[in-house]
């Protein structure tokens, strides 16, 4: 037998220098990733701490329960009760529209979806809606609500429909929240394996009954997540509020009907109030702005924590085999 030298079959055995496994560009890239990562932490911490400190400094409980009053110095201008209520009302109204409509569309897209042309059109429409700036939606709302048919939902003044009311703002805000509800619900429904649906059809249940009794309850965490994300966007929106809500710092009801009048009237939200009291706004009361910003941040934080909680709880719940 011949003496063995490992016969180099195939490609010639060329080895790169050891240590070349990390090129300098790799080290640079990794270093950059670390630097940017830590920088981001620093900026995020700075933002959070800044608003925390300033908010605590300026937030007093009475601000939450008094209304804005006209005044010159900051001590005279009152709190932001009505804007706070305005945020809550708008949030509730817009979600009351967005959630049922969004879930309905998601169910249609996921379970029915014929004709396919309409389904694809609907998908594109929702996606395009998600990308539209809220100023554009605000202007759309302005046109819609000054047109004859919907004019009854907003204030009229001297026979001219102004197109500004809680109804108008809530309607457009629901469009802002809609894509998120649809996307999240659809994902939740599509994650349910088909054998669950087949099991239900096999005992004679209709599609809609299956959806109502089996699928939607199972997809509930997704619905909740999507709604909360949508709600987050709604309470943070300023453009639609500024254009469609009138910006009157207190509620100005359109007529004296108890609830309907209020909702037909104008008002303000926290975001509009912050815009107004910022140094660039007409009010220029930075201390109030800090306080309101702090409250708004707490609301956003609460929503985020809620989403985290729901997601964590759902991960521990049903396991499809």
């Amino acid at each position: 037998m011949s003496v063995a030298t490992p016969a180099p079959a195939g490609p010639s055995r060329k080895r790169s220098e050891s240590g070349a496994s990390w090129r300098w560009s790799d080290r640079l890239g990794l270093g950059l990733a670390w630097v940017l990562g830590l920088l981001f932490c620093a900026v995020a911490a700075a933002i959070v701490i800044y608003f925390l400190i300033e908010g605590i400094r300026y937030l007093r409980p009475n601000l939450l329960v008094t209304n804005p009053t006209p005044g010159v110095s900051e001590s005279e201008t009152g709190g932001f009760l009505d804007p706070l209520l305005g945020t809550l009302i708008l949030g509730a109204m817009s979600m009351a529209i967005a959630v049922p409509v969004g879930v309905g569309i998601a169910v249609w897209l996921s379970e029915f979806g014929r004709p396919t042309g309409l389904a694809r059109l609907a998908e594109s429409a929702v996606e395009m809606l998600a990308g539209e700036p809220s100023v554009v939606l605000a202007l759309f709302g302005a046109v819609l609500f000054t047109a004859g048919h919907l004019g009854f939902l907003s204030q009229t003044s001297h026979g001219v429909v102004l197109g500004q009311s809680f109804f108008a703002a809530a309607a457009m805000l629901s469009l802002v929240a809609l894509p998120m509800v649809v996307a999240s619900t659809r994902e939740g429904l599509q994650a349910i394996p088909s054998h669950v649906r087949e099991a239900s059809y096999a005992v004679g249940k209709t599609k809609i009954a299956t959806t109502r009794r089996v699928l939607l309850p199972a997809a509930r965490p997704s619905v909740i997540t999507g709604s909360m994300l949508g709600l987050g966007r709604v309470i943070g929106d300023t453009a639609i509020v500024l254009l469609l809500l009138g910006g009157t710092l207190t509620f100005q009801a359109a007529n004296s009907t108890p609830l309907f009048g209020l909702l037909r009237g104008t008002g303000d939200t926290l975001t509009g109030y912050i815009y107004y009291t910022a140094p660039t706004g007409d009010g220029n009361q930075p201390s109030k702005a800090y306080a309101a910003a702090f409250v708004l941040m707490l609301m956003v934080l609460a929503i985020n924590l809620g989403v985290d909680l729901v997601v964590k709880r759902s991960q521990r719940a049903v396991r499809w085999s």
Binding site: M1, P6, R15, S21, W22
Partner: protein
């Protein structure tokens, strides 16, 4: 181009030359119950070269020991099959050969593994993994073309990215060694994920060969494939063993019977028995080995 120390040479002695094909009922030990077609014809005494040596290796994940004090040699020129029931530590042993166990959090290792005499713990992991490459159970070609998949190693391991013309020859060679060149030669830019399962696995083998390794590790490479692809890959492995040391983990005893030259049987982390395939399948010494091979447990 660095010069490598020539590996130690060993010639086969008479005891180690594989015996003629097994046939049932010719007086051999009755524990073998395979009624298979005859094993591949005994090859002429091939050159067998020591490549790696595992010395008293123990691996634990956290507090759970996965491999307990295993020692065995890995040689170029032969196929080593690691067999044993699920959870016996054969995959962990395989993964420790190219230090993939280090990627798992909480893993700890004691003992020594040497490659051509050098302790692999002293080598840079990336350098080691180019000399000892691995093919996984699930074919995992990258989402690129066939050409880019095979060229990936060649491009990324060099300190400067070579031009396409420079690697084309090496890519074709690797594909030829993996027996895939004929099937993809007309369109090397075909997306790799559109190949069939068997072709994808051979592509992964070609990719592993492109790194020009000294040892090729295969972790149950055929378990996700159909019989035809399995046969193609087994023939490929037999051809490859001349140039590369092959270690294959398999839970399929028939496969081990078909292609292995040496067999190591593991049970619950321990190396129960190690020997030539002829002896292990014909007349194993340990009772547990006998039971496993005859199918008493699995």
């Amino acid at each position: 181009m660095e010069l490598r120390k020539p590996p130690p040479v060993r010639r086969l002695t008479g005891n180690e030359i594989p015996a003629p094909p097994l046939r049932n009922g010719n007086g051999r030990h009755a524990s073998t119950t395979f009624a298979l077609p005859s094993r591949r014809a005994a090859r002429d005494a091939a050159i067998v070269v020591d490549r790696m040596q595992v010395e008293q290796l123990s691996v634990s994940y956290g507090s759970k020991p996965a491999v307990k004090s295993v020692s065995l040699p890995i040689r170029q020129g032969e196929v080593l099959a690691l067999i044993g029931p699920s959870g016996c530590g054969k995959t962990t042993l395989l993964r420790s050969l190219n230090r993939l166990t280090e990627l798992t959090r909480g893993s700890s290792l004691s003992g020594r593994i040497t490659l051509d005499g050098a302790d692999i713990a002293m080598l840079e992991p990336t350098a080691l993994r180019r000399r000892v490459t691995m093919v996984f159970q699930q074919p995992n070609p990258f989402p690129m073309s066939v050409f880019d998949n095979v060229a990936y190693v060649l491009r990324e391991q060099a300190s400067r990215r070579p031009r396409k013309a420079a690697v084309r020859g090496a890519v074709r060679d690797a594909l030829a060694r993996a027996g895939l060149l004929d099937e993809v030669a007309d369109n090397l830019d075909h997306p790799a994920l559109r190949l069939s399962g068997g072709q994808q696995q051979r592509l992964c083998i070609a990719r592993a060969l492109a790194a020009d390794p000294e040892v090729l590790l295969l972790d149950e490479p055929c378990s996700a494939l159909d019989p035809l692809s399995t046969r193609l890959i087994e023939e490929l492995i037999l051809k490859l063993r001349e140039d590369v040391a092959v270690v294959i983990v398999t839970h399929n005893l028939q496969q081990a019977y078909r292609i292995a030259d040496s067999v190591a049987f593991m049970y619950l982390g321990e190396l129960v028995e190690y020997g030539s395939a002829h002896r292990m399948f014909g007349s194993p010494r340990e009772a547990r080995t006998r039971e496993y091979i005859s199918g008493a447990f699995g």
